[in-house]
């Protein structure tokens, strides 16, 4: 059942042996539970520090935007959530592939843990984008390319979440989700491209998103800090959820009982 519980002795001698060892170790829920418990604090600390500095910098220190006024400060939370939501979808697709090809248990848990996070992140990106849109474009909802493709990503997350809930047997549910995550990953670029094309076709002149030529460092740096901070937050929550899933699925194992 678990492919990752083989011994590492053979892998050590080959070239890239350490990579193979890491691969096998990643397949071991127990190893992940132990090491994840340590990584958790690292990522968590980074997330708190970076998000605190980045948010205060973005809210109170970064200069006012001459076009949008202070509403542009929403960017410092909007852009990171959107980026993390997208990366999370790629992670889901990759985890799905690993699960189907190598049947690695941890990939299933990564997929299960990542979906609710991605769901909330894309919902947050849409919500903060819509709040940002009201003072900027004068409308709560503008169907432009990015909004629509993020909305579709949110629906795919909801579908992934609902599909897992609907299939009673856990292993089948995980593999079905893996198939859907891969199908979604293949489709997301096509959807994005088609929505962008649709946007140029229906170019109404009521609004236009002016790409600013170059963001000054005083705006770019807090954004960068928050993006990294959101990634760290994502990693923290992902690991925490995966550890919970490890305990849930291995609850009969001896090492869990001995914790």
């Amino acid at each position: 059942m678990s492919s990752g519980r083989e011994t590492d002795s053979g892998a050590q001698r080959k070239p890239h042996g350490w990579l193979k060892t890491l691969w096998h170790k990643l397949g071991s829920p127990r190893w992940f539970y132990d090491i994840g418990g340590r990584w958790l604090y690292g990522f968590g600390a980074f997330a708190v520090v970076l998000l605190t500095i980045g948010t205060i910098w973005g809210l109170a220190v970064a200069p006012i935007d001459y076009q949008q006024g202070n509403s542009y400060r929403i960017m410092f939370v909007h852009v990171p959530t959107a980026i993390v939501a997208q990366s999370c979808f790629m992670l889901c697709g990759a985890a799905g592939m690993v699960l189907l090809v190598w049947r690695m248990k941890m990939a299933d848990m990564a997929l299960e843990a990542a979906v609710p996070i991605g769901l909330l992140m894309s919902a947050l990106a849409l919500a903060s984008g819509s709040i940002w849109g009201r003072p900027t474009w004068g409308a709560w909802w503008v169907s432009d390319a990015r909004t629509v493709s993020t909305l579709i990503m949110l629906f795919l997350y909801i579908a992934l979440y609902a599909l897992r809930g609907a299939i009673p047997r856990a292993e089948a549910a995980g593999r079905a989700c893996a198939v859907l995550a891969i199908v979604g990953l293949v489709n997301i670029p096509i959807i994005k491209y088609s929505v962008e094309w649709w946007n140029t076709l229906h170019q109404t002149s009521s609004f236009s998103v002016v790409e600013r030529p170059a963001m000054p460092a005083s705006m770019y740096l807090p954004l960068l800090l928050n993006v990294i901070g959101f990634y760290c937050f994502f990693a923290t929550v992902l690991i925490a959820r995966m550890r919970t899933l490890v305990l849930k699925k291995e609850s009969g194992a001896r090492w869990v009982q001995e914790l």
Binding site: A159, I167, A176, V179, I182, V183, I190, I191, S194, L201
Partner: protein, 222 residues
Amino acid sequence: MTVFVSSLARDWRANLRQPSQIINPLAFFLLVVSLFPLGVGPEPLVLARIAPGVVWVLALLAALLSVEGLYRQDYDDGSLEQLVIGARPLYFAVLGKATSQWLVTGAPLTLLAPIAGFMLYLPTEQVGWLMLSLALGTPTITLLAGIGAALTVGVNRGGTLLALIILPLFVPVLIFGTAVTETLLLGASREFPLLILCALLAASITLAPFAIAAALKIGVEQ
């Protein structure tokens, strides 16, 4: 190839035995089209403007309605398990099933599109383009819908879940499908969306059966 033909023939015969399953989605399609003039008013210009979009969205919904039972009966009577275990290249068996599904949903819907077009005052010269776009787009729709149907094969009352899974995947076909008919109104070329529809069809014929086959294997195991 024999797998493809035998799977196609078997499903074709099974479909003919239950004509209501074919007729109901088509009736739904025409029924909802006839509701639109009542909903948005009988103004020909407004209806002609929204006609391609209405026809296309309803084509998606009709596909959704008809695909729900695609694998359900085979699953219940155990013949799906035989198919998954027995059919050597499962790819062709799945493709055959999708083809027969298209022949009873997408194809008749394409043939009914002129009626829907006339009900919505679509200019006569546009009707041919609408049919062409449907002829190229509905096979893709059937294949994508098949993925959702295969994933939810063991799920009781999977209807809304099925919609949640496949409707987002339909977006590219919807955009380029409506664009074929709408470009005249918007002043862009027609070849491009048609080519993209062909590309989407080719991609889904090569890739979607693999996803359907993988999903069916999982569904049968549970």
